[in-house]
């Protein structure tokens, strides 16, 4: 290794640890986060341990400064219900994705956008009142958007409908889905992707515009399904929500062979 290469390595390591320090305190904006992840992939294990220890130590310091507040009984009940519902949910196995951005996804952006206003939704009572209340509360957020699903020609999507409620400010959302074919979790699972216009080019193998953030995997049983959206990475400017069929546990690189639902942000 030449002296120049050593200097470059040191500079990369310093930049990585600088970002790790920023991240531990105030977090990173999307370009910084992308830079951090790129550098992390190249960093020696000692630096990765150092970086991780910053965040853990900041969490310990912050925790020690707190005084617990009383939790309302109904909020406690909802949290416990969420926890019980999550048991056995394969979404816990969802991993952070990288993505080969396909050109034909752009076609889906346009198609879903064209269908946005032509799509009608038959509303029905969601399965859980507490979940319904949460959806409605999120939907009332100032920046919240409610976007109807467009079903594709995939057989599993025949007759499927519903919508996506999403708030960028809250970094949270819900999918409401009806009529999507139930899946056998041991054979395949549905996976949500959120295309983010603030994540472009740098991580895109195909360089084809917005890069999707993994929204997690989920299963469909009969009836209406309400699925909380908790993206693995911050979503700055969503342009499209899309559901694919993937192998159990989801994928990190989707081959987008089966797209069943899409909802474009106009």
């Amino acid at each position: 290794m030449t002296d120049d290469q050593k200097r470059e390595d040191r500079a990369r390591d310093e930049r990585y640890l600088d970002l790790a320090l920023e991240r531990a305190g105030q977090g990173l904006d999307p370009p910084e986060a992308a830079d951090f992840e790129r550098l992390a992939a190249e960093a020696p294990s000692a630096s990765r341990r150092e970086a991780a220890s910053y965040e853990l130590t900041a969490a310990q310091i912050h925790f020690a400064s707190l005084r617990p507040l009383p939790l309302r009984a109904d909020l406690r009940k909802e949290i416990v219900e969420d926890g019980v519902a999550s048991l056995g949910d394969p979404a816990v196995a969802a991993s952070r994705p990288t993505w080969i951005a396909p050109f034909h996804w752009l076609g889906w952006v346009a198609a879903a956008a064209a269908l946005l206003f032509a799509f009608s939704i038959e509303r029905s009572e969601p399965e859980s009142l507490s979940t319904a209340a949460r959806v409605e509360r999120l939907a009332s957020a100032p920046d919240a958007r409610t976007l109807p699903w467009s079903a594709t020609e995939d057989p599993a999507a025949a007759g499927a409908s519903g919508d996506v409620v999403w708030s960028t400010e809250r970094q949270a959302g819900f999918m409401r889905i009806r009529g999507l074919a139930p899946n056998d979790p041991t054979a395949a699972q549905y996976q949500l992707w959120i295309f983010d216009a603030t994540r472009t080019e740098e991580n895109s193998v195909a360089g084809a515009g917005a890069i999707p953030v993994d929204g997690g995997v989920f299963d469909v049983t009969a009836g209406e399904l309400v699925v909380p959206i908790t993206p693995k990475l911050p979503v700055g400017q969503p342009t499209l929500f899309a559901v694919t069929v993937e192998r159990p546990g989801g994928v990190t690189v989707s081959r987008q062979e089966r797209i069943v639902l899409a909802a474009a942000v106009d």
Binding site: E55, I61, F63, A64, L69, V84, T168, R170, G216, P234
Partner: protein, 189 residues
């Protein structure tokens, strides 16, 4: 350095293995802490309650990633909660200015209101580590971690050059880490 752990499974490990009975205990143990943390970021109690619910969804999703050899449950929960709360506030283009629920100096709190021997010990250890820092360094860490100030804001407030603030913070954080024996292995970004 990896933490020494007991053989009995933690609440999160029980939850990850499908033990529904551990969920209520876990929520009772950490719910108030997460709400307190969220209240510091969003100020409004209703928003803080929503954020708390979202943080717990994140916790349920990541329960199987918890390794007691790396961090305590409290630290794991606080780390996930801070990530989510900070990200949410960055998305809303507001600097995560944190408002203390009860104004209190870091490194000087007593144990009042803390339920559970393990958590009391956790808090006491962290505060003991902070108390070993120089007062100025401790105050800088408080501004940065607890009050949510940026390096630039701290530099402006204290009159220190930005580089000095960064190096003070890093040294202080590393000192606390070394006292606490915080490991960094196995933490995913």
């Amino acid at each position: 350095m990896r933490r020494v752990t007991s053989d009995s499974p933690t609440l999160l490990q029980r939850i990850a293995s499908g033990d529904a009975g551990a969920i209520e205990e876990f929520v009772d143990r950490y719910g108030g802490w997460v709400l307190s943390l969220a209240k510091g970021y969003v100020h409004d109690i209703e928003l803080a309650e929503d954020a708390t619910q979202e943080v717990f969804i994140e916790v349920w999703k990541n329960a199987d990633r918890y390794d007691p050899a790396i961090a305590s449950e409290a630290t794991f929960v606080a780390m996930l909660a801070r990530r989510r709360l900070i990200d949410a506030h960055r998305r809303s283009e507001r600097r995560p200015r944190i408002e203390a629920v009860e104004p209190e100096s870091v490194g000087q709190s007593d144990d009042g209101g803390i339920d559970g021997v393990d958590l009391r010990d956790e808090v006491a250890r962290a505060n003991d580590a902070l108390s070993r820092l120089k007062p100025e360094q401790r105050e800088l860490l408080k501004m940065w971690v607890v009050d949510g100030m940026t390096h630039g804001e701290i530099a402006e407030l204290t009159g220190h050059p930005l580089g000095t603030v960064k190096s003070h913070l890093r040294r202080g954080l590393v000192r606390v880490r070394d006292i606490l024996g915080t490991a960094g292995e196995g933490v995913s970004s």
